[in-house]
């Protein structure tokens, strides 16, 4: 008899937990209009990128699908560019490129940045000092220019662009990680973990890191944003992989024909702006969400 009661009580608890979770998550959206709008925009963008092959009818980068410089028409809703390529198709595939570049490069910078930030944050002393100096210096060097030079020198292909952007972006992440580590390190539960006998490595990964990650997430989102802008900027200056559809590169080509074909510049840039706005709202919303929550806890 007793067993049954306990079982029933536990299940009720579970169901409640499930509902509670749904309630709590929806609260995030309700209280934070900016976050919600950003989230929706980003979601739509991602979906568009995923279904690109299904909602376009020309292969990307294929030339002469229409008469060059045709303004928006039914079959080519965004117009046709100077080489006869359909702008609509290339814009949609360009979204893919932007997203891939954004996420991949941020992954690289996260890997480097977290590593350095963790070491600098946990181990004080000479090592930390040196690492922090390096990080601070790296922060002032204009990232865009550095990425530009790296790609220009090492070759303008897709991988290089991703690697270059990843490499120039790590200092910001390292800095945040270090700040988080410094503050979490002082909290009593870390000391308690030491008292229990955890090794340093375990303390870093099991105790501190899980508590530091929430601080990084909004920053990572904004970093994706920056990466996308850098890629677009590079493309605009002509530094891009010619075999990959890129919104920035499209703007580069458009620059020469601004007078004749406004649509060559308008649509790619518009889509780019929407992506950036969405990510900005998302990132900002995340920052706002995490702050009061920490205080409430």
């Amino acid at each position: 008899m007793k067993m049954n009661n306990q079982g029933a009580a536990y299940t009720y608890h579970l169901k409640n937990v499930g509902l509670q979770l749904v309630y709590k998550t929806s609260k995030v959206f309700r209280l934070n209009p900016r976050f919600t709008v950003g989230f929706i925009i980003v979601l739509v963008v991602i979906i568009l990128a995923l279904v690109a092959p299904f909602i376009t009818w020309y292969p990307p980068l294929k030339t002469l699908v229409g008469k060059p410089f045709t303004p928006p028409v039914a079959l080519q809703p965004f117009g046709v560019d100077d080489l006869g390529r359909d702008i609509y198709t290339n814009v949609l595939y360009g979204i893919r490129t932007s997203l891939i570049v954004g996420v991949s490069s941020v992954t690289i910078s996260l890997a480097i940045g977290i590593l350095i930030g963790v070491i600098a944050g946990y181990y004080s002393g000479l090592l930390e000092d040196v690492l922090m100096r390096i990080t601070d210096m790296a922060l002032i060097i204009p990232q865009f220019l550095l990425a530009l030079v790296i790609v220009a020198i090492f070759g303008q292909n897709f991988q290089n662009i991703i690697i270059a952007i990843g490499i120039v972006s790590w200092p910001g992440i390292a800095r945040i990680m270090r700040a988080e580590f410094l503050s979490i390190k002082e909290r009593p539960f870390v000391e308690a973990a030491k008292a229990v006998g955890l090794t340093d490595v375990k303390i870093i990964f099991e105790e501190i890191l899980p508590n530091a990650i929430p601080a990084i997430i909004p920053y990572a989102v904004l970093q994706v944003n920056t990466a996308i802008l850098v890629e677009a900027g590079l493309g605009f200056l002509g530094i891009a992989d010619p075999n990959v559809p890129s919104l920035g590169l499209m703007l580069n080509t458009a620059q020469q024909y601004l007078v004749r074909a406004w649509f060559m510049a308008f649509f790619p840039g518009l889509v780019l702006s929407i992506i950036v706005i969405g990510l900005n709202l998302l990132g900002d919303g995340l920052i706002e969400y995490l702050n009061p929550r920490l205080r409430k806890r």
Binding site: F189, A192, A193, V196, G197, L198, K202, E207
Partner: protein, 329 residues
Amino acid sequence: MRTYPLLRVENVKKYFPIGRALFGRSKQYVKAVDDVYFSLDVGGSLGIVGESGSGKTTLAKLVLRLLEPTSGKVYLDNIDLISLSNKEIRRLRPKMQMIFQDPMASLNPRKKIRDIIGQVFKIHTDMSDVEIRERVIDLLEKVGLTPPELFLDRYPHELSGGQRQRVCIARAIALNPKLLIADEPVSALDVSVRGQIVKLLLDIFEKYKNEIAYIVISHDIALIKSICKDALVMYLGKVVERGEVGKIIEEPLHPYSQMLISSIPVPDPEIARNRKRIPIGGEIPSLINPPKGCYFHPRCPYVMDRCREKMPPLIDVDNRLVSCYLYSE
């Protein structure tokens, strides 16, 4: 049979350098703990009393080697803790545990209770997950968290203050420590809950009387009286009086102890009205530049010339140690 005390703390000092001089050496130190020594036997219970800033928590951390002493030695079971390597100390950790001041802050907010306690077993034993789960349940019952299954998968923020402290206690006794230090075990809790936790601690101490020695740190001397047999009164990092708690309360020798005792509220209005009231004068001076001579002399109603010159040594008066010139004849 053991011929040596379980815990021996000898002339331990901890000075924290302050300020960042451009080239390393600071001129000033915070003397958090200044030349403390005591020893504790199995079954012994020591209370450390003092105001905040007296160095009690630092002392506790030094004993457990969570901090490195600037000088001095700590012997647990005749093993010199200071000379051990990091690895060796880690292996010894389960034998000397601490319950921290703020139960919420000393639990990892992202870990479930079962993992927080289970962690101890994972690190120091080869027990299987099943065995660990059983031990954890066993411990939860011991500290009064029933039904234990309900607490396994909860997170610290889902528990009440008292429950969290019980978890901390469970974690501390998990591997049968020889030395248990409780730092302000009930200050962070609601008054209504304090009694329960104190009772829990007493039960545990009673049960393991023959294996464990414990130290309780608090600013509340009444609490110490209910749990400990002996007490150490600290002021600005130095021990000013030591002896049996009951005797210290009844008849405090050191002027500082007298101040502390007289501030304890006494329920009987007759006694309260009639007892000798020594108002606490002045404030704690800074730890960076402690007064010359006896640290307490600026606030002491019995101050003599001697007191301003040199720090009085610990003098034995009737099985008690007092650091005061009043008793040096």
